[in-house]
């Protein structure tokens, strides 16, 4: 059984996002890391790179697969998790905390952003149900 936490928004591609002001933090879920297996590489975007909604901005590579990373919002990359360059396995051990992947600056007010995410993504309960269906 995979770990699902409240306080996060979830995508159908098994990414999570959190919001602080107009900064969105993104990572992959515990379910995603379990399905991928041992992660050996995370391809990170460049700082200042513009990322478009629902477009692939990088990949996560495990010993058995390479998966695209998608972002549910458009924005500019302001920070990437540099620790993952040398220790990508952190995504396996702490997908919701130290294993975060990037931070985006979004051109919206935090209320607009929260409204959009609430409408388009899943919350804790919805994602739990979604996983049950998947499993």
């Amino acid at each position: 059984m995979s770990d699902v936490r409240s306080g996060y928004y979830y995508t159908k591609e098994h990414e999570w996002v959190t919001v602080e002001e107009n900064i969105v933090t993104l990572g992959i879920t515990d379910y995603a890391q379990q399905s991928l297996g041992d992660i050996v590489f995370v391809e990170l975007p460049q700082i200042d790179q513009e990322v478009s909604k629902d477009e692939s901005f990088g990949v996560v590579e495990s010993v058995k697969a390479v998966s695209d990373l998608y972002c549910p919002v458009s924005g500019k990359v302001v920070e990437v998790n540099e620790t993952l360059v040398n220790s990508p396995e952190i995504v396996n051990t702490a997908p919701f905390e130290e294993g975060w992947i990037l931070k985006l600056e979004v051109n919206m007010s935090s209320t607009e952003l929260e409204e959009m995410l609430e409408e388009e993504l899943m919350d804790f309960e919805a994602y739990k149900n979604f996983l049950e269906e998947e499993e």
């Binding site: 590489f41 391809e43 590579e61 495990s62 010993v63 058995k64 697969a65 390479v66 695209d68």
Partner: protein
């Protein structure tokens, strides 16, 4: 290869198993108008010795590139192939064009691929090589696609002195990827025109993925890679050095040591025959940061469960058979038989042997250059340093080459075919197989 025909009994047994009445029923999906009734129009059967005689007489019509009298280079170079290359590659454990589908069971094949990669990396001066590509032309296209993937930009600049056929293939690949291919000029000594390059780098700076040059270029000239690198100010723009005469790598400072991010091209010169123009052997080597964008297969070293050294295919998760349409490249195989020949050749020649061969190639070309300079109506087109081929200008290229052809000499490539502005210019090439006597014969035939 053994040919085992099916007997009538085999055929009826097989049809029974799959529940089809006759061979023609097997093809019922094909519209009837396309079915062919009756026998194929073939000549009457021959006894084995009659057939041999017939094939022998047909084969006499082939114009084989004679060992010493071939001065055609222009991408494929006639080098000596030690007999050990044929001997080892013809072993049945090795003789296949394919990388094995169950790769780890074929440790012998994987070992040679690993050795091939190691040697190509050392020769080109870059740390990472793949297991080989189809040929030099598709190699350049793969390198361009790699630069587009890694930079997310959509323009590539390519020198007009990159092999004309490589550029043609490059354009074919790029046209459906919406990647712009922009050519830049060469100067009056046969090197790239730095002013034109500088201008075009500036014009396309917002969308530039890579700059592709040749060294030795199509005119045989060694380019100043370090200088070209310094002209590309943006580190995201990759410098791709292409070449079709890898023998040069034994003598000149390899492009990878001078700042090229990718070295790509043709490695047929190592232990392979020119045949009638193919198959040939593509290679690509890259800097470490481009590893995950490298097309094709990569063989890696590991240890087995008992701690013994072993080899595996690595990074397969990015290949087509696993990642489907999102694979780094459509190339899902390599040119293994030819790469194996290159491995055996390079092991046999060693550093010293390869260097000596490269020196001989360069010396023979220099010998011929002096002789051309002494000719009245012939001049050297370009003055920049060359490896083993160069361009001459003659009064009438057609008559010149025809006169040589009559003596059984392939006297060079008329450049007019690829460069309309280079009328009566001929590219001539030299390897260790062109002896001093052969070169003297060439000059006796033109005077």
């Amino acid at each position: 290869m053994t040919y085992i025909p099916h007997s009538e009994k085999n055929i009826s047994e097989m049809l029974e198993v799959i529940g089809v009445k006759s061979i023609s029923k097997l093809f019922s999906q094909v519209p009837e108008e396309f079915h062919k009734d009756g026998k194929l129009k073939l000549p009457a059967k021959l006894a084995p010795f009659e057939l041999e005689r017939l094939i022998d007489s047909i084969s006499k019509e082939n114009k084989l590139p004679s060992r010493g009298k071939n001065f055609l280079g222009a991408g494929l170079y006639n080098h000596w192939v030690p007999s050990v290359v044929d001997e080892i590659t013809s072993r049945q454990e090795y003789y296949t064009a394919y990388t094995p589908y169950q790769p780890e069971i074929s440790q012998g094949t994987l070992t040679t691929i690993f050795e091939y990669q190691t040697m190509m990396a050392r020769l080109t001066g870059l740390p990472i090589s793949n297991a080989s590509l189809y040929d030099g032309a598709t190699g350049v296209a793969e390198a361009a696609m790699l630069s587009v993937r890694s930079s997310r930009k959509n323009s590539v600049l390519v020198s007009k002195t990159v092999h004309p056929e490589y550029r043609k293939v490059l354009k074919t690949y790029m046209q459906h990827l919406n990647v712009k291919v922009i050519e830049f000029a060469y100067n009056n000594i046969g090197e790239i025109d730095t002013i034109d390059l500088e201008k075009k780098i500036d014009e396309h700076k917002d969308d530039l993925a890579s700059v592709i040059v040749g060294s030795p270029n199509f005119f045989g000239i060694i380019e100043d890679i370090a200088n070209i690198k310094s002209m590309i100010k943006n580190p995201q723009v990759l410098l791709i050095a292409s070449l079709s005469e890898p023998m040069s790598l034994a003598l000149v400072n390899p492009p990878g040591k001078c700042g090229a991010d990718i070295v790509v091209g043709e490695a047929l010169s190592f232990g392979n025959y020119i045949n009638f123009g193919g198959p040939t052997l593509g290679f690509i080597t890259v800097k470490e940061n481009l590893l995950r964008n490298l097309p094709g297969r990569v063989c890696g070293e590991t240890v087995d469960k008992d701690g013994r050294r072993a080899f595996v295919f690595t990074l397969s998760t990015r290949e087509q058979h696993i990642r489907r349409e999102k694979a780094t490249s459509n190339i899902c195989s390599n040119q293994n038989l030819l790469a194996m020949r290159a491995t055996i050749y390079l092991s046999y020649m060693g550093e010293k042997g390869l260097k000596n061969t490269a020196i001989i190639c360069n010396e023979r070309a220099s010998y011929a250059k002096k002789k051309f300079e002494a000719q009245k109506n012939i001049s050297l087109k370009f003055s920049a340093p060359f490896f083993n081929e160069f361009v001459i200008e003659v009064p009438d290229s057609k008559a010149f080459l025809e006169a040589l052809q009559k003596k059984g000499i392939q006297g060079g490539l008329d450049l007019h075919r690829f460069y309309p502005e280079l009328k009566n210019n001929i590219l001539v090439s030299y390897t260790e197989l062109n002896s001093i006597e052969d070169i003297d014969l060439y000059f006796n035939s033109i005077s």
